[in-house]
Subunit: 392 residues, 2 copies
């Protein structure tokens, strides 16, 4: 038996206990929980077949009462003796995509980001559209290209046309960018014809991850009217490997910024679901921006309420992104197109002047939040290297 050591400053103490899917050499992918610098194999430690599954979906579908019961049991377990063969060093495991993604929706919930992008994409118009403060604007993305942290990203090719070009050309994206976001995962769904009120959020949302919504700005700018982004985004979306349970975020809950005009009743609730999460974006090892989630205009509870208010079903494994997180300051902007103002204001990255992503660059987004014990909890990171475009 082993007592798992938890360093005093660990972001993975018993107030966190995020779930992930891992394997060791030659063993199948299964569910584990992270404790300090170790992974506890839940299939082995709890002797429960739901954790022998290769995704969290079966467990997530069991609902909130079961999530609470399992979390309490794990907290007991990992503060006592754990069977040796159920404990692995985090450096000895391979992490896998933790969920089978059902529908994926990406929102646009930062007022600073929406305003900045509006100025960059539509310089002659009002930056914020008239609907923006009335509803959380979002669109559906491609589920099959959601990948886990550590997966290399191949630069996409597509049609690009600068305003000064006469015709579009085809080739590798010249303006490859990131969007630093948080992602939220639906555990317990709702049927077609039903809806999820903002105050029912915790009964349906299982947890949160860091999300990088890779964006080819040149492809996006040419394609996106009138039906929204498609190939400029659909090539890849990366998420972090550890799903932080919603229960671990109690101490991070804050009010959203004041919402004026007052949202329609279906978007109102008594519970605060703003979240005080701090993100940091590393570009080749240099921290270039620190987006603060607490400033997001729309809460994830409002996003889920909006998604389902028309009777659309919510499913176990649905993933929704917050949209790029940008604060009021330049060094809080969560996308390079904003940080460099469309490429006009390069930033220093490890001694080089940079605008968009160069082949071989490595991007890592990390995030932390206040924990229940007065310290902080971590989401880990979403990290990826960018490889050159395929050429046929």
């Amino acid at each position: 038996m082993t007592v798992i050591p938890i360093p005093a400053d660990s972001l993975f103490g018993v107030d966190n206990l995020p779930y992930g899917v891992f394997s060791t050499d030659g063993t199948p992918a299964r569910v584990g929980v992270r404790v300090g610098d170790h992974v506890v194999d839940l299939a082995a430690a709890l002797d429960d077949a739901v954790f022998a599954e290769p995704t969290l979906n079966a467990f997530m579908a069991e609902g909130r009462a079961r999530w609470d019961a399992v979390r309490a049991r794990i907290a007991d377990l990992v503060t006592g003796d754990v069977a040796d063969d159920a404990v692995h060093a985090v450096t000895d495991v391979t992490m896998h995509l933790p969920i089978a993604v059902a529908d994926y929706v990406d929102f646009y919930a930062s007022e600073n980001h929406a305003s900045n992008l509006g100025r960059l994409f539509r310089p002659d118009a009002e930056p914020l559209m008239p609907n923006w403060k009335h509803l959380p604007v979002g669109y559906h993305g491609r589920s099959s290209t959601v990948v886990v942290s550590g997966t290399d990203i191949v630069r996409p090719s597509g049609q690009r046309k600068a305003p000064t070009d006469a015709e579009p050309t085809f080739g590798p994206s010249l303006r490859l960018d990131i969007e630093a976001e948080m992602g939220f995962i639906v555990g317990a769904g709702s049927p077609m014809g039903g809806s999820i009120a903002p105050d029912e959020f915790a009964d349906h949302c299982f947890g949160a991850v860091i999300l990088n919504d890779w964006s080819a700005r040149d492809i996006q700018a040419w394609e996106y009217v009138p039906l929204g982004p498609n190939l400029g985004k659909s090539f890849a979306t990366s998420i972090s490997a550890w799903v932080v349970p919603l229960q671990a975020l109690e101490a991070a809950r804050v009010p959203t910024p004041a919402q004026d005009p007052t949202p329609l009743p279906y978007l109102r609730g008594d519970q605060d679901w703003g979240l005080d999460i701090d993100l940091a974006v590393e570009w080749n090892g240099d921290t270039v921006t620190r987006p603060p989630y607490a400033g997001m205009y729309w809460s994830p509870a409002q996003m889920l309420a909006h998604t389902t208010v028309n009777g659309a079903a919510a499913s176990t494994g649905d993933l929704f992104g917050s949209g790029t997180i940008s604060g009021t300051e330049k060094n809080q902007r969560g996308a390079f197109i904003e940080l460099t103002w469309g490429g006009a204001e390069p930033v220093d990255v490890a001694g080089e002047q940079r605008t968009f992503i160069v082949d071989g660059d490595e991007i890592a987004i990390s995030a932390t939040a206040p924990g229940a014990n007065g310290g902080r909890i971590g989401f880990g990171e979403v990290r990826a290297r960018v490889l050159p475009a395929h050429t046929d």
Copy 2:
């Protein structure tokens, strides 16, 4: 043993042989093929476990060589004696959603439709966006609300704001509409980082269905800038129960209309994948419009090539819609917003003047195409009744 009767004018002769998922009272859903007015239980008739699955996905994943072999075997089977217990009258079975939908993308490939909608949604601007003739514009929709023909559709509620309203209001959509489309189903996918050229279409596309992209025009008009349609569409998409194999559409293949400017090389192929399919839309039993698929500007082979050219994965069960099919004539327009010009020109429906859908209305879209034997083949229909909005 039974010889299955096939009426001389049947749309379901041996040149069609569409696949579906059916059940009879108290039996599990399984794969069948339609022959005349009967359904042949393939799990029973071919003694193959892949047809005992509750969707076509496992069979579709086996790929083109297997699709060809099974089709040849079925053609032999159904022209001879078939075991009695493998044959059911089509009136005795319940049809189910034939596929587990992976990613769902909806295109916008009719020049007439895109121009008409442009005039209606953006009366002060050029109706066709500058990108429209360079790429098949499309967006991702909600997979979890794709339902089979016969499923009732509940009128969605959401935010609506007419240009003359000061503020949006919440309530049932007042401008509920259809979009008559064809849907195409990916059988054999391609991995992330790969792509599917237009001339590789038949190796990947399993077959086609009729698709009704239900649309709440008032919700859509308010929400869709700048990221495209979301709740105006995500409440429901209906598809027909029978998947017509691509092999059955050989005689329907025609060139697309001339494409000017010439598309970029990745959108060009030597094969014609325009399709001479005739649709008809019944509104409470009255045929109100007959959209011709042959006029669609972009082919489904071009749509799939575009979807994957950035390295996005294609998956077994991916569904993509053509977008509303509208011909040059008023009585060929595939959406009521076009047919009634935004509600300004009501049409006669069973003796009543109608613009948008009224609770209790029943919509049925049918389609036929030339078959290999000189006659016609049928897609069946996608039929649904509209129920009143839920009120809480």
